[in-house]
């Protein structure tokens, strides 16, 4: 059991410097071995607007940003107005009383005003209030001042001694003021003695690519996928990864396909709009049998939609991307560390089966942050390039000519790297015969077309057994089975705990990671034992519910859906389960209480 479960909300306008105190707190938490989950609600604006960062930490694993706030740090009046009403008894609100006034507040909420003018009379600039508030928070949760002092020294190292001294002075004033004027929390932030790391999902995806041996990464900037590009660009030279920004997403995927065909492990990432532009080329990768990995970080659609908000609305797009039937692997990582592990798994599959692979993430996963045990970040992963002639120098003699698309029982034909002597061949997006000659014009032949089509599609049967089947999490004989896919795993698990502890409802969870091909038999076996089945997903139409029904015939007893751009909070699922079990509704759509 957790001894501490603390949530801190920091809010203000874009440009007010919310990220820095957020980063400092996150680092303090993980260095004490505490778990962390953070979510930043923001807008498509560079200056102004409203940003709200929620950081939650505990000595037990933290699955979501939670349901409540213990500390509110409003950096402007707007944030105070939006969030004060949600603060409950026992919580704390820290604010600069020179500029910000509180409103009505629930009994038991501790208002902690401080005056920047009094505490730092000689210092100009707005950022000083952040430093004071941060120092005060640390005092209230029992973190020694020395830790903040060290971090500030590191943070301002480049700006010189004077700036360091000034910031430490301000922090000291805030820390001491809180000690004499505010009531601290009953706990002191523990230190487990085992340091953790923390990262955001996009970093995890990029690092997974690095572990997989990605040698070529290209992208067109698009929120919320740009974090992958930024990590790759920052580390490309160190890691020997070529990183290119391309003119549009059609170009991106085609450049990646060119690099992949030449022999690189190639990856790209985008969001739904960019992915739409890539559709045709993904089919071409399957047709030419070139392995390539594309990440779709979903945001709220359709069209430009809400660029900085989350959704799971692209499942059908990804499943149906491009014309015609073609083999593809689609995987939806279920948490941030899983993003790291999934990418190398996917690369081995696409290399072996010579087809495109798609990672379907979303803003919550990709821009959310999570702590991780550094031991879990194993870069020494198995790498299987599949059957590639000319990759490792030795080239077998060509006996009776080389057929790039030789018909085989597995559907996999030996691939020869361009540049290898004796193996020249043409790969084509037109239908072609075993030797690569087109059978779309002069040599059209329905029998050959059928054989080639079946050869490619046959791979799907062999992929399935290599994918880990989904398993049931939680008590087998639970009253309700919550089915989700991808990023909702954390919030479903936390809702299960709440249901058990607060509502005496036993729930279990079937979370789907490998979306295509789908482990239908395993899912049906699990679902056959369920009492009630509720599907939880972050979209309007129940895209997964429809997919599950089409593939397995399973009809859910209820649905919990959300499509306001914000992620589920645990209590949303709890409320939905209660209502559906009570029979008042079959479809529950929660109202997001936080105005962000």
């Amino acid at each position: 059991m957790a001894t501490v479960d603390l949530s801190i909300g920091i809010g203000g306008a874009a440009g007010q410097g919310i990220a820095t105190p957020g980063d400092i707190l996150a680092r303090i938490f993980v260095r004490r071995g505490l778990h962390l989950n953070a979510y930043n609600a923001y807008q498509s604006i560079i200056r102004g607007g409203h940003i709200f960062l929620t950081l939650r930490t505990s000595d037990a694993p933290v699955l979501t940003f939670g349901d409540k706030l213990d500390i509110l740090m409003p950096l402007n009046q707007d944030t105070m107005n939006r969030h004060l009403r949600l603060m409950k008894s026992g919580s704390v609100v820290l604010y600069n009383s020179d500029k910000i006034k509180p409103g009505e507040v629930e009994a038991g909420v501790q208002l902690c005003p401080f005056s920047v003018k009094e505490l730092a009379p000689n210092i100009r600039g707005d950022l000083v209030q952040n430093t004071i508030a941060l120092a005060a928070v640390l005092r209230l949760i029992g973190v020694e001042f020395k830790i903040l002092e060290d971090i500030l020294t590191l943070q301002f190292k480049r700006k010189g001694e004077a700036v360091i001294a000034e910031n430490i002075g301000v922090a000291r004033a805030g820390y001491d003021y809180a000690g004499t004027h505010f009531k601290p929390f009953a706990f002191s932030l523990p230190d487990t003695g085992k340091k953790l790391a923390f990262f955001e999902g996009n970093q995890a995806l990029a690092m997974g690519g690095a572990a997989a041996g990605v040698r070529f990464y290209c992208a067109y900037p698009m929120s919320p996928a740009s974090g992958v590009l930024h990590w790759m660009a920052r580390h490309g030279r160190q890691l020997g990864i070529m990183v290119r920004q391309i003119e549009d997403e059609i170009g991106v995927i085609n450049v990646a396909i060119g690099a992949a065909h030449a022999g690189c492990r190639a990856m790209c990432a985008t969001s739904g709009g960019g992915f739409a532009l890539m559709s045709e080329a993904l089919g071409s990768a399957a047709m030419m049998e070139i392995p390539v990995v594309c990440i779709n970080v979903q945001r709220a659609g359709p069209a430009t939609g809400v660029p900085t908000k989350t959704e799971q609305g692209d499942l059908w797009q990804v499943m149906g991307a491009g014309q015609g039937d073609y083999p593809r692997i689609i995987v939806a990582p279920t948490n941030i560390p899983d993003c790291f592990k999934t990418v190398p798994q996917l690369f081995n599959l696409v290399d072996k089966f010579q087809c495109p692979g798609i990672v379907i993430s979303d803003l919550l996963l990709s821009e959310g942050r999570s702590s991780v045990d550094p031991a879990e970040l194993d870069f020494n992963v198995p790498i299987d390039r599949g059957e590639v002639i000319g990759l490792n120098g030795s080239v077998p003699p060509v006996n009776g000519g080389y057929n790039r698309y030789q018909l085989t029982d597995t559907g996999i034909s030996p691939r020869a790297l361009p540049g290898t002597a004796g193996y020249t061949h043409v790969v084509a997006t037109d239908e072609h015969d075993e030797d690569g000659v087109l059978i779309s014009d002069e040599f059209t032949n329905p029998h050959k077309r059928q054989a080639m089509h079946e050869k490619r599609m046959r791979k799907m049967d062999l992929i399935l057994p290599l994918l880990e089947p989904p398993t049931l999490f939680g008590p087998e004989d639970a009253q309700v089975t919550l089915v989700g896919w991808g990023s909702t795993e954390g919030v479903i698990h936390e809702a299960m705990q709440k249901l058990a502890n607060e509502e005496w409802i036993a729930a279990n969870n079937l979370q789907i990671k490998w979306m295509v091909p789908l482990h239908c038999q395993a899912i049906m076996a699990i679902a056959s034992k369920r009492k009630k089945l509720i599907i939880v997903e972050n979209n309007y139409s129940g895209q997964f519910a429809r997919y599950l029904r089409s593939e397995t015939g399973i009809v859910a007893d209820g649905h919990i859906r959300k499509y306001d751009g914000e992620p589920f909070m645990p209590h949303h699922i709890v409320d939905g389960v209660k209502k559906i079990l009570a029979g008042t509704t079959q479809k529950y759509v929660p109202v997001h209480e936080i105005m962000v």
Partner: protein, 311 residues
């Protein structure tokens, strides 16, 4: 090509050139099937000229990758024995950019038509040129969409009557040569498939050039373009080298690129050799050979440093 690979390997020195062995011949580049272009199609001239250029440069088939989009002319890689990619409509240059950066030892030839390159692929065309990607782009320009049975293309002349413009096109055409010079291509030429020998020299020059080389080749469509025929080009095309043109003179190159009338210049309009190519600017290619052939995996030391950043 039915040659034992071991044989070929023995012929190639480390520089990729045949080491004293027999020179390649046109036969070495013969594709698996013959072209299915209409009899008299200009594209035959490009195929012949390209093979001849490869032979004269003594390149081995496996050292070359020919990449095309979609359209009549984009079928070319299938009629040639090199590594080939017959990609999507308009996307050849994007695919070629990736392939060139992934393996800069390959000689990349991109082939296609005016609709493929200047229409649907227009964005990639501009950006590949400004990047100075090291490849040779041969556009078989017939000023018409042939494979879709005759509609206007970006290079169709104003007033041209086609199935999509029964009353005559009202649009101004693209001047590919002017566009290429302006966009940053470092070798810009125009050829005519009725003058194959001249075209061979232009293609050879393009392949030897380090950087983006465009060869826009008039390649008359004998079936759907009855305006811009061999008869039309035969008497109008005039070689720049006979006009005293200096291909290092930017203003003159631009001026010549817009000339279209009784005299239409062909030849090398523009060339500069002082600009590095995209792969030369990529620091990670400075040493270690082609990216595609490097070992995967990262050292434990680097892995540790990546994890440390997160703590």
């Amino acid at each position: 090509m039915s040659v034992d690979p071991v044989d070929i390997e023995a012929r190639i020195s480390k520089t990729g050139q045949p080491a004293g062995g027999p020179r390649v011949t046109v036969k070495d580049f013969k594709g698996k099937v013959d072209p299915d272009w209409c009899p008299g199609c200009g594209d035959f001239g490009v195929l012949t000229a390209l093979k001849q250029a490869l032979v004269e440069l003594n390149l081995n088939p496996h050292q070359v990758m020919t990449i095309s989009g979609i359209g009549c002319s984009s079928n070319l890689p299938g009629y040639l024995s090199t590594y080939g990619m017959h990609t999507l409509h308009g996307r050849a240059l994007a695919v070629a950019t990736g392939a060139q950066l992934a393996n800069h030892d390959l000689k990349i030839i991109v082939t296609g038509g005016d609709g493929d390159g200047y229409g649907i692929g227009g964005n990639h065309f501009i950006h590949s040129m400004r990047r100075n990607v090291d490849l040779t782009y041969i556009v078989m320009n017939n000023q018409i969409y042939g494979l879709t049975t005759g509609q206007i293309s970006p290079t169709s002349t104003k007033g041209m009557k086609t199935k999509s413009t029964p009353a005559g096109s009202v649009e101004n055409p693209i001047f590919p040569v002017s566009l290429a010079i302006a966009a940053g291509a470092t070798y810009v030429a125009r050829g005519y498939t009725g003058q194959v020998k001249h075209l061979v020299d232009l293609i050879k020059g393009g392949i030897q050039h380090k950087g983006f080389a465009l060869i826009d080749a008039f390649s008359p469509c004998v079936t759907f373009n009855l305006d811009n025929t061999h008869e039309f080009f035969k008497h109008r095309t005039k070689k720049l080298e006979d006009m005293g043109h200096d291909p290092t003179d930017f203003s003159a190159a631009i001026q010549k690129s817009y000339e279209w009338g009784d005299e239409i210049p062909i030849g090398l309009f523009w060339k500069r050799e002082d600009l590095p190519t995209l792969d030369q600017l990529e620091q990670i290619l400075d040493e270690g050979g082609p990216l595609a052939r490097r070992p995967l995996g990262i050292s434990p030391e680097v892995a540790r440093s990546l994890v440390r950043e997160l703590m």
